[in-house]
């Protein structure tokens, strides 16, 4: 029997090519791996090998022919016997219609939004049972307690990073953990972010639940490929087979007088990545409840802390197991005249501004996002529908920021409710300067926020 040899596609973009030269003639016996012809593609001249054994029957396209379409027959091959190899060339066909799918419109509608794993609901109800006792605790201690509680609960949880063990943490977040859990589970790494991040991801692929501490998020840029390409995308690329239950945590944003390479807010970078969850708390209770949730979450979680906030004290509920849901914002100060949306350190600034605005007769509602992905737009939109004005406040650069995203979404989804343009307050569009006076100018202030609120409420 005879089978057709087809013009091959030899690059991802090739549609036709030149058959430059035949290296076999009619009647030649060929076996798999033999070079049949040279073919010129849109990029280069390539050798074309035989796959099946047999005898060249007829050469259908003469050498030197240009514009030979991919998949058109160029020769015939005589295959003796049962010729199992001949089958696919003939049987290959266009893919069948895809499997039945959910409503196409519903799929299309989701295009604009980030893929929140679950629908988030507005947090109106209290997050702790009535009568719960609160203790005052620093954010630092709340984070430490969250890790310790989860490590006691689950043997698979371990902490690794630079100076997390014997030094007790560069910012003392892991104080006492080595003593309690030992060197097997509290691991000092060499200063090699790229390597230990990948190592942590490998351990997570195998079912361990690593907490990887970055001394600061600035150093995680060395490991960016592993975080995005390996941690965030593998579940998707494996059709759901692989899981990466890992937490990356450490201080993010500006510290004080450490200049450009050590002062950057990465929130928007990570929040743009599907497959990732991103948390940026301000209060100690949120730090604790959300870090515990992050450690239990089966997905990779980016946990953005803030060095300046570490030492602040807040009430934390005295509960045995206080876990908060990821992806829910919280209204930390209800108000009627304007919505201020903040996260991390700027929540404190927003509350301060709200107090000063109240003295001037402006009643601001302050929302603490807490999670940046999934982003709780429901809470933001509900608030805007009530106040008709929104100002976002963040420390990051202004271009393509979390504030940019929120303002865009508000304009798209609550346009008819707006009485003023959505407005952003952010860090300036410059690398962080060292000089004290310039650094101050580069960061957003309470006064900047007050001014922006006055502008949108037309009280300026």
């Amino acid at each position: 029997m005879s089978t057709e040899i087809l013009m091959p596609a030899l690059s991802p973009t090739m549609e036709e090519g030149k058959l430059s030269k035949w290296l076999v003639k009619e009647g030649d016996t060929v076996k798999s791996g033999d070079i049949l012809a040279e073919i010129e593609t849109d990029k280069a001249t390539m050798e074309f090998e035989a796959v099946d054994e047999g005898k060249i029957g007829q050469i259908l396209v003469a050498e030197g022919t240009e514009g030979v379409k991919v998949n058109s027959p160029i020769a015939t091959l005589l295959v003796d016997g049962e010729a199992p190899g001949a089958a696919p060339a003939k049987k290959a066909k266009k893919p069948e219609a895809p499997l039945p799918s959910e409503d196409h419109k519903a799929v299309a509608d989701r295009g604009q939004q980030e893929m929140a794993p679950k629908k988030v609901e507005v947090v109106a109800k209290p997050e702790v049972p009535e009568g719960t006792e609160f203790v005052t605790q620093t954010v630092r201690d709340a984070l430490r307690d969250a890790m310790a509680e989860e490590m006691r609960r689950d043997e698979l949880v371990f902490l690794m990073g630079e100076e997390v063990a014997e030094y007790q943490g560069a910012y003392k977040i892991s104080q006492g953990l080595l003593e309690e859990f030992g060197a097997r589970r509290v691991i000092d790494t060499p200063i090699t972010e790229h390597g230990f991040t990948g190592l942590g991801i490998g351990a997570a692929f195998d079912g361990l639940k690593p907490i990887v501490e970055f001394m600061t998020w600035n150093f995680a840029m060395q490991a960016m490929d592993q975080i995005i390409n390996s941690a965030a995308k593998t579940r998707y690329m494996s059709g759901g087979q692989m899981s990466c239950p890992i937490v990356f945590r450490g201080p993010n944003g500006a510290a004080a007088r450490v200049a450009a390479q050590h002062s950057q807010d990465y929130s928007a970078w990570y929040a743009s990545v599907p497959g990732m969850k991103v948390i940026a708390p301000y209060f100690a209770a949120d730090a604790k409840g959300l870090l515990k949730a992050a450690i239990r979450d089966p997905n990779p979680v980016i946990f953005l802390e803030n060095e300046i906030v570490y030492g602040k004290s807040f009430p934390v509920p005295k509960l045995d197991d206080f876990v908060l849901p990821i992806g829910k914002a919280r209204i930390v100060r209800p108000g009627a005249d304007v919505t201020i949306v903040a996260y991390s350190i700027t929540v404190g600034q927003a509350l301060e501004a709200a107090e000063k605005l109240a003295e001037q007769g402006i009643d601001a509602e302050v929302i603490d996002l807490r999670s940046l992905r999934p982003l709780d737009m429901d809470t933001v939109l509900e608030s805007v529908k009530k106040t008709n004005r929104i100002v976002t406040m963040e420390q990051a650069w202004p271009v393509c920021s979390i504030g940019s995203e929120i303002c865009a979404r508000v304009a798209l989804e609550a346009f008819d409710y707006l009485d003023a343009p959505p407005t952003k307050v952010s860090g300036k569009d410059v690398p962080m300067p060292y000089a004290a006076n310039l650094e101050k100018l580069a960061l957003p202030t309470v006064e900047d926020l007050i001014e922006a609120v006055k502008a949108v409420t037309y009280k300026a």
């Binding site: 087809l6 013009m7 091959p8 596609a9 030899l10 690059s11 991802p12 990029k43 280069a44 050798e47 074309f48 090998e49 796959v51 991919v70 998949n71 199992p84 190899g85 089958a87 696919p88 049987k91 290959a92 066909k93 893919p95 069948e96 895809p98 499997l99 039945p100 959910e102 799929v107 989701r110 893929m115 794993p117 790494t189 060499p190 090699t192 790229h194 390597g195 991040t197 990948g198 190592l199 942590g200 991801i201 490998g202 351990a203 997570a204 692929f205 195998d206 079912g207 361990l208 390409n229 390996s230 593998t234 579940r235 998707y236 690329m237 494996s238 059709g239 087979q241 599907p274 497959g275």
Partner: protein
């Protein structure tokens, strides 16, 4: 035939069979690519078959494998169904990653195959992490972490070497030296071309192996496994091998003379070479090999049919498997 000899003869035949399966599978994949049924990047393993087959011959149940994007052979050698691998290449719902990974991104947690990684060198710290997990759990499993001569110059490889030796992790670093990092030869890309010595500054031992000789590979693999399982930490195996085809399907391979490829094919081909040995030793005869070839072809043709006839993923699949 006594039981021991029979089982030995069966395992030798299996080595030959598995290499042949990879060869025929890859040839068919190349053909499907030519027909436009496989898209994007497709890196064939033709010529390197003895490496992965020999090492799997030395591995035990529970041992893990991780490699880069030239990964089809690793999966077939680990006993993953050729149909599901081929269907992934054609981007169909029946593929190992349900069509969402493609040639470079396939995984099987059941068979302990951890990918399938598209970024040169990225699989090395991840493989080291798998070994970390084995040690953490007190498991005796060993992780085979494969990378090429090109990846061997990546910084993250040395960060991994350092931690693996520091923490005595049970990982075998298999450097598949096929002489070309895409189009750049070892001589033009590597200051020191003896890759078996790349662990020297971390005190990681290395063995140079003829990667075209499946029995030599298996023997070195057994030695390396023993090293890891006895708690001595990581070890490097440099596999001297050769890739017959281009780096990917669209590589015309003009950086090396055709004669170089022909010579390796004629003198060092891992499958022909081993087939002749088996005949000489009386393990098989010509007819046995022909039968095996026909059987392998049937499997590969069935895989190709399955892969071209299966439906593409449903459109709802666009939004699944992003979060657990």
């Amino acid at each position: 035939m006594p039981e021991a000899a029979k089982s030995n003869s069966e395992s030798l035949k299996k080595l030959y069979h598995d290499m042949l399966l990879i060869r025929r599978f890859e040839e068919r994949a190349g053909q499907l690519y030519g027909m436009g049924l496989i898209g994007g990047f497709c890196h064939l393993y033709i010529g390197q078959e003895a490496v992965v087959v020999g090492l799997m011959g030395a591995a035990k149940q529970g041992d893990q494998q991780i490699t880069a994007y030239r990964d089809h052979g690793h999966m077939l050698a680990q006993g993953i169904d050729p149909k599901s691998v081929m269907a992934e290449l054609t981007g169909r719902s029946t593929g190992l990653s349900r069509g969402k990974g493609g040639s470079m991104h396939m995984f099987s947690s059941e068979k302990k195959f951890y990918g399938g990684h598209g970024i040169v060198g990225a699989q090395v710290p991840i493989g080291t992490g798998l070994a970390f997990a084995n040690k953490y759990r007190g498991s005796s499993a060993v992780t085979l972490t494969y990378f090429g001569d090109g990846a061997a110059n990546q910084g993250q490889v040395y960060e991994s070497f350092n931690m693996a030796e520091l923490w005595k992790l049970p990982v075998i670093y298999v450097i598949e030296n096929n002489e070309y990092a895409m189009g750049t030869s070892v001589a033009r890309s590597s200051a020191v071309s003896d890759f078996s010595k790349r662990g020297a500054s971390f005190a990681i031992p290395g063995i140079k192996v003829d990667g075209m000789d499946v029995e030599a590979v298996q023997k070195a693999g057994e030695e390396a496994m023993e090293h890891c399982r006895s708690g001595k930490g990581p070890i490097i195996l440099e596999m001297k091998t050769y890739r017959y085809r281009g780096h990917s399907m669209s590589d015309p391979a003009k950086y090396r003379p055709r004669e170089e490829v022909t010579e390796v094919r004629e003198k060092r081909d891992p499958i022909d070479h081993f087939g002749k040995k088996l005949i000489e030793r009386g393990v098989v005869n010509e007819e046995d090999l022909k039968q095996m070839d026909a059987e392998v072809k049937r499997v590969v043709v069935a895989a190709a049919e399955f892969a071209t006839e299966s439906p593409e993923p449903g459109t709802a699949e666009l939004y699944t498997d992003i979060y657990a």
